[in-house]
Amino acid sequence: MIEYFANVYRNSKALVQGHWITLRYMFKPAVTIHYPDEKLVPFEKFRGALLFDENTCISCNLCVKACPSNCIALENATNEAGKKIAKVAWYSIDFGKCNFCRLCEEACPTKPRSVWHSLDYEVVFVKRDEMVRCWKKSFPFVGKYFDSKTKEFKDAEGQINIHDVAPRRN
């Protein structure tokens, strides 16, 4: 009998303590942020969407070899005489395959890096074509995508805020 009442008391006490914890947290501020209104800036080492700079690229193919999922492709540029030079003619990254692993960035020998992870975590695509981001001479850092219907290079629509955060680059 005593045991029974002791048991009831113990259980009730445990329940009340649990309620006390939840009640206490109710009067503490929230830890969340209002996402579309407030955005967190990732840490400096964050691996966001890849950016590419054709000005510094020396077309050495190291990133292609470093990529585990084969998502990078590039081609050397040629000069007037038709010989290959250390410039890139075109460069493309298939974000549908990208693992965001930073192996390409680590392999890049140029300074500053020619291919690097930005801090953009809002990598959104509205079309399948948009996943293949292409760079050619005079294309911006974010690249363009090739619309397979109209057969032309376009600015990506899905990429909302890639410039919101200044990317790391060294």
Binding site: N70, C71, A73, E75, W90, S92, D94, K97, R128, D129, V132, C134, F146, S148, F153
Partner: protein, 188 residues
């Protein structure tokens, strides 16, 4: 218990067992003479404390993996000609003893002795068949099903030898080196 002591102990009971030519690094690896030894060895090992069957697996030694076993999806790339394939290739290495054989591996662990013994057995590749340990160790049940599914090994006496990981319609056993992907309705 050091590896040598353990090996001496095993050999005193089963003289036909010998050390494997290629030892798994840092662990005692022994090779069975025939597949009939497997169940007695496993039961004896279980009796002396190796009651934890850690792993049941196997390796196909036919040769370098056949690239036709992979679905090689072409990159969509406006710069490239249509249908350019990824560059990954596999190549044989000179001097490695490729052979039409499947090398089975069982790994037994003794918690009390903090010891581990790897038991190997080589069978011919075609119709590879070894006794099932599912009656001795329940953990062998699913692992043997996995090996049946992926490597096409027949485990004699297994109660429920059915596919476990790959879908029912998949033809062949993917981890065999000569596996070639047969197109099914899910391929583009």
């Amino acid at each position: 218990m050091t590896q040598d002591e353990l090996f001496a102990k095993i050999q005193s009971q089963f003289p036909k067992i010998e050390k494997a030519a290629i030892q798994i690094k840092d662990y005692l690896t022994v090779r069975l003479a025939s597949k009939d030894d497997l169940i007695p060895v496993a039961k004896w090992l279980k009796g002396i404390g190796f009651d934890y069957l850690d792993m049941v697996t196997a390796t196909d030694y036919l040769g370098p993996v056949d690239m036709k076993g992979y679905i090689r999806q072409a990159n969509f790339n406006p710069f490239l000609p249509e249908g350019a394939t990824p560059e990954i290739e596999s190549a044989p290495t000179a001097g490695f003893p490729y052979r039409p054989a499947i090398d089975h591996l069982w790994s037994f662990v003794s918690n009390a002795d903090k010891a581990r013994v790897m038991v190997k057995l080589e069978t011919p590749r075609d119709g590879a068949s070894v006794p099932s340990l599912a009656a001795v160790f329940k953990t062998a049940n699913w692992q043997e099903r996995e090996n049946f599914d992926l490597l096409g090994i027949n485990y004699e006496g297994h109660q429920n030898q059915t596919k476990i990981l790959t879908p029912d319609f998949l033809q062949g056993h993917p981890l065999r080196k000569d596996y070639v992907h047969v197109k099914d309705r899910f391929d583009e």
